[in-house]
């Protein structure tokens, strides 16, 4: 069944670089606040991301209150509603998901998993976090600025984003939003360069590229993509900022606003859409690829079985990353661009389904006849697979031009997007936190609270987003403050909307259980030991838990095998750590 052969771990090339010198902190401030340790930076990133994510969660509650019970809440007027959806979307996509996967998990896991002492440039890495924090603060400041935050929708399409009809358009909202994005991109670049160079040039002896855990492959590819995709957003933000502040007309056509001819003319709103989606589509995979990678490791570890088709998984990640740069205009089928573009972009979009499907098959085949432990990380991983398949299938609808045109700008899009890019990656984030929290703190998260969290979140997410597909198919448009008396909207839609809102409140409340668990278990959790999941990857083999500054003590680890030697015949345990030589012992590692 499995191709096993005798160990190849004995042959090792000599060390190529001398051990690095790290900055050793002298005070509490440099140890915990202005820390250059990637693990501390990771926790700072994650804490900030989760904190701002809670703001986005509350915003989604407020939105759902309005949609489910229109007219009941006085403080939600149309302007406020648009501000809520805009900030919810932007925070979730950029400041939570991107920052948490790359800044959080990337910082924590990359050095540990590749066997490095730290990121290659810890100082730049530290700056990356503080600039990210500044971006978050600028974003939060827009809530308190005159006119409130921008209500342009998270895509910030001009010309409406900078006109007076849009909340924040002629006030501070849009300016602070654009400034915050520019700051975020600068900060991210500092961190992203670190992650890429650490993976490429900072690995341990024996850690070849084809022995990297898929988590590292996912985060690495996503970071490369981010470094190439964020420039488009950066440029778009700079240009729109000029349109708003200097009166240029990059994106502004001739416009009459409230009976008054504006000073703009000759610009192209579609140009913004191209720039935005040249960033925006890779962004989907910047979030998805780390999730793909992490979930592969969760499944393999908790099913005690080697990942099925490791090389195929690596290539699928790389190919998805490449293809995602040539599909962006599938977000623009109804923008009025050249129809032949639609043909090209629909084709490339559907081609992405092939490597993606390979990954899903490989996850399922990894589970096949595995020794499945229904631990919390595994539950979330399984939740991810089904949610991702569901969200991916509706993506096939929306990727086709003819089907997309009637579904465009309906709640169907919202449901699809939230399934595939909202719920699915967040499932992985939860799974990953349950999986790695013991390494970060030395204690397990509470199992009972975790079970409550999983089942409410998983089932609740389906109760929220399944009905939303139907609401969209009926033709209910997205981004409408209230539906009013539209003839085509049946009564069932209104009751479904109320139902969805109630479910959203419940699922949101379940996250408070999770946060409580995080805080409570730091002191009161069960002692985890160094390797509670009996996992093979390097981060579980550190001399101390949580790992000390420098990760490995005196000697750097040496890697003798790939990351997936689970249930190897003849081995004493059902896992063999990557740094264990055991000469003569068989491995599942594919021959190179």
């Amino acid at each position: 069944m499995v191709d096993v052969r005798s160990g190849i771990g004995e042959a090792l090339p000599p060390p190529e670089v001398e051990d690095v010198e790290l900055y050793h902190p002298h005070s509490w401030w440099t140890k915990y606040v202005f820390s250059q340790d990637a693990k501390i930076i990771a926790i700072q990133y994650a804490t900030t991301a989760i904190a701002i994510g809670m703001v986005a969660l509350v915003l989604s509650w407020l939105m759902r209150l309005q949609l489910g019970f229109p007219g009941t809440f006085d403080f939600i007027d149309a302007d406020a509603y648009y501000q809520f959806i805009t900030m919810h979307g932007m925070i979730m996509v950029i400041y939570l998901l991107t920052a948490l996967f790359l800044g959080g998990f990337g910082n924590y896991l990359i050095p540990l998993m590749v066997g490095a002492r730290d990121m290659v440039f810890p100082y730049a890495n530290m700056l990356s976090y503080w600039i990210y924090l500044l971006a978050v603060l600028v974003l939060v400041a827009s809530f308190f600025a005159p006119g409130g935050p921008t209500g342009a929708g998270w895509t910030l399409y001009p010309p409406q984003a900078v006109l007076s009809g849009t909340p924040g358009g002629k006030d501070w909202g849009i300016i602070l939003m654009l400034a915050s994005l520019i700051i975020f991109i600068i900060g991210f670049t500092m961190g992203g360069l670190n992650y890429v160079v650490t993976v490429l040039q900072g690995r341990a002896r024996g850690m070849t590229l084809m022995r990297l855990p898929l988590t590292v492959w996912g985060i690495f590819t996503a970071t490369v993509m981010a470094l190439l995709a964020f420039p488009a957003l950066f440029v778009a933000c700079v240009m729109m900022l000029f349109d708003r502040l200097l009166g240029t007309s990059f994106f502004m056509p001739a416009i009459v606003e409230m009976g008054e001819q504006l000073q703009h003319g000759g610009g192209s709103p579609i140009l913004f859409q191209h720039l935005f989606w040249f960033f925006g589509h890779p962004e989907v995979y910047i979030v998805a690829l780390p999730a793909f990678g992490i979930v592969s490791d969760l499944i393999s570890t908790h099913a005690r079985k080697n990942i099925f088709g490791y090389r195929m998984m690596v290539w699928a990640i790389v190919i998805i990353g490449g293809l995602s740069f040539i599909v962006w205009a599938h977000h623009m089928y109804v923008s009025g661009m050249n129809p032949y573009f639609g043909f090209f972009f629909a084709t490339t979009t559907l081609i992405i389904a092939v490597p993606t499907a390979i990954k899903v098959y490989n996850w399922v085949l990894t589970l096949w006849r595995g020794n499945i432990h229904l631990t919390l990380p595994m539950l979330f991983a399984l939740g991810f697979i089904v949610t991702f398949v569901n969200g991916g299938l509706t993506g096939l609808f929306l990727g086709n031009v003819v089907v997309d045109v009637p579904l465009s700008d309906t709640m169907f899009v919202v449901a699809h997007f939230h399934m595939v890019m909202g719920v699915a990656p967040i499932m992985v984030i939860f799974g990953a936190i349950y999986h790695w929290y013991p390494k970060m703190t030395g204690r397990m998260l509470n199992e009972a609270l975790g079970q409550i969290h999983f089942w409410v979140t998983f089932l609740g997410a389906y109760l929220i987003f399944f009905p939303m597909h139907y609401v969209g198919l009926v033709g209910v448009p997205r981004r409408y403050y209230e539906l009013g008396e539209m003839a085509f909207v049946q009564d069932s839609v209104h009751s479904l909307n109320a139902f969805i809102s109630v479910m959203a409140l419940i699922v949101g409340a379940a996250q408070i259980v999770f946060l409580f668990n995080l805080a409570w278990s730091v002191r009161h959790g069960r002692d985890a030991g160094g390797n509670p999941w009996r996992a093979t990857t390097l981060e579980w083999q550190t001399p101390e838990t949580p790992p000390a500054h420098g990760n490995w003590g005196k000697e750097l680890p040496v890697v003798y095998r790939w990351a997936y030697d689970y249930s190897v015949p003849g081995a004493a345990e059902d896992f063999i750590p990557q740094n264990q030589p055991t000469p003569g012992l068989v491995t599942h590692e594919a021959s190179s």
Partner: protein, 240 residues
């Protein structure tokens, strides 16, 4: 910290030939790009990212220029100077380009001297490079003030499409910022070279890492990149 690592008796695996050999070299352990230091790798990847920034700026400018319905001002005329009664199109831009390309030459010589550990020559050549860079920025300031005095603004100009001024100030401004940052870094590194920081491996103030002459080459990479970008701006903005 660098304790010797015990290696088990090593048996060498046969190295694959041809394409497979290339792939296995790249995929080998520790480093993908052999003999490339972390700093250099980081600068190359940053430059790749920055290429996308400038690429987006230039593509956006080209899209605006191609789609505008109002005629585009003729750059040869706009950037012409009267020198001694002679009308010379693009003369200032030509001089600016010459200065910047020359600075690449002195930078390359500085890198060479740096690796020879010729402290004095390296520092002087870097200062000359910085001087060329500052001259470039100075001429750019002159060009900007000339255009502003003629009525060119980000939101309009006397000769045609408003996007001309917007793109001009945005792209040359962004490039000029890059040059300015480069000049600042050149001065900082030149000072450290002069002081002998890289001979004594003095530790950095912020990073507390040992200084190496390699930083001269890394600064050079950035500088050459900024020059190369200028060539594209020159071709696409001034010559088109």
């Amino acid at each position: 910290m660098s304790a010797p690592i015990k290696t088990p008796a090593a048996e060498t695996l046969p190295r694959p030939a041809g394409l497979a050999g290339l792939a296995s070299d790249w995929a080998s352990d520790q480093r993908t790009f052999k003999n490339v230091s972390w700093g250099k790798a980081m600068m190359w990847i940053f430059l790749l990212s920055d290429t996308f920034v400038f690429g987006c700026f230039l593509l956006a400018y080209m899209a605006a220029r191609m789609s505008t319905t109002v005629p585009w001002p003729n750059p040869s005329e706009v950037f012409a100077l009267e020198i001694g009664g002679t009308h010379m199109p693009l003369i200032l831009i030509a001089i600016m380009t010459f200065v910047l390309i020359s600075s690449s030459g002195t930078m390359a010589m500085a890198v060479n001297c740096g690796y020879r550990r010729d402290r004095r020559k390296t520092a002087i050549l870097m200062l000359v490079t910085a001087l060329f860079g500052a001259t470039f920025v100075g001429m750019q300031a002159f060009e900007w003030s000339k255009l502003i005095s003629e009525g060119v603004r980000p939101w309009g100009n006397p000769w045609g499409a408003a996007q001309f001024g917007s793109s001009f100030f945005m792209i040359t401004g962004f490039h000029g910022t890059h040059v300015t940052i480069g000049v600042i870094f050149l001065l900082i590194v030149a000072r450290k070279v002069w002081r002998g920081d890289y001979d004594t491996e003095r530790r950095g103030f912020f990073t507390s890492r040992k200084g190496r002459y390699e930083i001269v080459e890394i600064t050079g990479l950035y500088w050459h990149f900024v020059d190369l970008v200028w060539v594209f701006i020159f071709a696409f903005f001034y010559l088109w």
